[in-house]
Symmetry: C2
Subunit: 402 residues, 2 copies
């Protein structure tokens, strides 16, 4: 492996070579906010994707999953926000296909090489009378500078766009990776993610591309929760169009690690931004469980704490309510012995052997008042660990969703 320089990540949607994009307000949202986006790759791009494991799936998820599995090549993605195209039956599938076909037609590329994503209200038929003209406008407006507009066009209750760009080197060639995502609510992805679009000019072998995406998602989008509700529309798509022209990346290539680091860096940062900008969220709280008997136990214990409504509301008031954490551990499916549990807030010990210990309430409360802090729970039952990133559940969350 060649020496790898430390990557830097900028909060920008600077598109890699060969990509164009844009976003606009087509009229799906009553408030006039941007509600459509389009990504286009001049060269055919190798395609990878991961999707929600919810049994109730949006039409777009069904269509894209088929194209990832069977086509493997993409020229673009068309996205609408405001309507999820979920629970829309056969008409929903017809609409998703028509969206992709109409976008493909504008660029004179094969219809099955366009992907389509929707996000918004479930159970509402798509306003195709708005979407089809929107696609035509998008196709005329795409440009290599349009990443930022695209990042805005995919948002729903997000308060800000989420995008990161990094560069990495393959065979001495500088490559770029841009990630653009949306989050906000109905966030507890499972082997999938919310909408995330990852674009690179690197050349990556198709199987390796899919494998690297799956691994990066497992450590980023699949580790976050806003409200424990897994969506019907979670989708992450990765397009590698090879414009950089280097030798094909796959495991064993001297610069494979640089690609993995870039991809993991961008997806992790996007995931953290989703939690920070979770509906009504004021705090990003890292819940780490270690010393679990099994990996499944570590995961179950961390999710139980990270999703407990009483734990999440206690974070609002900055009260270090470790009793609620003990309670949530106790009812998780993980094997827990309350007399062994140890809890830290950042580096301050709060609980030892299941009892109050160490730092004063005042010192713990100062940590719990921060915008970001970590709760580390050692079960002392084994050697497995898991981390979940969560946020507080505020009155604003209720107002947004009522």
């Amino acid at each position: 492996m060649t020496s790898m320089k430390k990557l830097t990540f900028s909060a920008a949607a600077t598109l890699p070579r060969g990509f164009q994009a844009t976003g606009l307000a087509a009229g799906l949202k009553q408030n006039g906010a941007p509600d459509m986006a389009l990504f286009y790759s001049e060269p055919p791009a190798t395609l990878a994707g991961v999707f929600t494991t919810n049994q109730v799936k949006a039409a777009t998820v069904r269509l894209d999953a088929e194209r990832v599995a069977k086509v493997g090549v993409a020229r673009g993605i068309v996205v609408n926000s405001g309507q999820a195209n979920a629970c829309t039956g056969k008409q929903g599938l017809r609409d998703a296909r028509a969206m992709a076909a109409h976008a493909a037609k504008q660029f004179d590329v094969p219809a099955n090489q366009f992907l389509v994503c929707s996000t918004g209200r479930i159970g509402v038929p798509l306003r195709m009378d708005i979407i089809l003209p929107g696609i035509e406008k998008l196709a005329k407006a795409v440009s290599p500078q349009g990443g930022e507009q695209a990042a805005r066009g995919i948002l729903t209750t997000d308060t800000r766009p989420k995008r990161f760009t990094t560069t990495f080197t393959v065979n001495g060639q500088v490559c770029r990776l841009t990630g653009i995502a949306k989050g906000a609510g109905m966030i507890q992805p499972n082997m999938a993610t919310m909408l995330a679009f990852l674009l690179t000019d690197a050349r990556v072998e198709r199987g390796a591309l899919q494998q690297s995406l799956r691994a990066a998602v497992a450590q980023s989008f699949n580790r976050i929760t806003v409200d424990g509700d897994q969506s019907t529309n979670d989708t992450a798509l990765l397009l590698a169009n090879g414009s950089a022209g280097h030798s094909l990346l796959k495991p064993g290539h001297p610069d494979w690690a640089a690609w993995v680091a870039a991809l993991e860096g961008v997806t992790f940062r996007l995931a953290m931004e989703m939690v920070r900008d979770g509906e009504g969220a004021q705090k990003l709280v890292t819940v780490r469980v270690q010393g679990a008997r099994s990996a499944a136990d570590a995961e179950a214990a961390a999710r139980s704490v990270a999703n407990s409504l009483l734990v999440k509301t206690s974070w609002v008031g900055s009260y270090p309510n470790w009793g609620r954490i003990m309670d949530a551990l106790g009812y998780s499916s993980a094997k827990v012995n309350e007399n062994k549990v140890e809890i830290h807030y950042n580096h301050l010990l709060a609980v030892k052997n299941g009892l109050k210990a160490g730092a004063s309430l005042e010192r713990l409360a100062k940590i719990a008042a921060r915008k970001e802090f970590t709760i580390t729970i050692d079960l002392h039952m084994g050697r497995q660990a898991a981390t979940v990133y969560s946020c507080d559940c505020t009155e604003e969350y209720v107002r947004i969703n009522m």
Copy 2:
């Protein structure tokens, strides 16, 4: 079986013969609200109990469970609210034993025939300097008329006392059953309940008493959720002191059904009161899943919907957001085919074959605006059913718990 007259249930804590009780403000709560209660039975009462299955258990749960299993006879129960005596280690167990012993001493009865319950903040050592004098005052103040005071002494964030009394006939003798409970938050009992005290002057065989309690709890306290958080302190105790003097009740007795109906009627009504008075709750929503492939699937699907934060917040705004119900069904562990799902709001069809159908949004919204309504979900996958009673998640819930 003899003919059984329809039972009536009054919202009162009228104690059965042989029982005395009272409640008072001992000083555990800073706001001066009642925080202790005591129940006493003149004759030794046959004892039954069920407890939280949380692995993190209050000291009182450990002590009472041992006494239910090994002693089987009780003379009384002493209760404090404000402090849970959970996560308090060996000192907690010593304190629980000392509470029971001090109460027993006041009545000159064996120490192991007193039960003890605590509810309130986890992880705080009991203020025994307040509790022991409190017990002495309680013992002096108990009376056959003290049920109402006792019902108030056990409350925490509950806004009102929860108690029901009914009468039933055994061998022509009128017997009485009184149930007194508290709920509010950290409510999703599992094979157990929040604090509930059931007192009767009926004579019931010990094994049958335990069996009837377990069955009644399974259909009442175990079917409710406020926030999905299962407590460390859930306890239901049932004392049958036999003052009515009839022949011993057990399955096969001609009036066994009357006993079961009385017990199920009181526990179910107490459970519904817990949901109606859930922290911040404005609505009681019955979530019934039928047509599930297995009983476990029915249960999982109903709990997934009843605990979904997005479903619970949608109830606040009276919006019939069936898309969120579909989403929560889809990520439950139950086998779901979205094309088969049918959803009713009360008797109005909202979804058929997974798609919007039947009633208009306006008509559905009128139902969702009611204080109480039922969502019936037919998965059309099999023949099993389960019902869970839930409430909305309001801004007030967040304020109470932050």
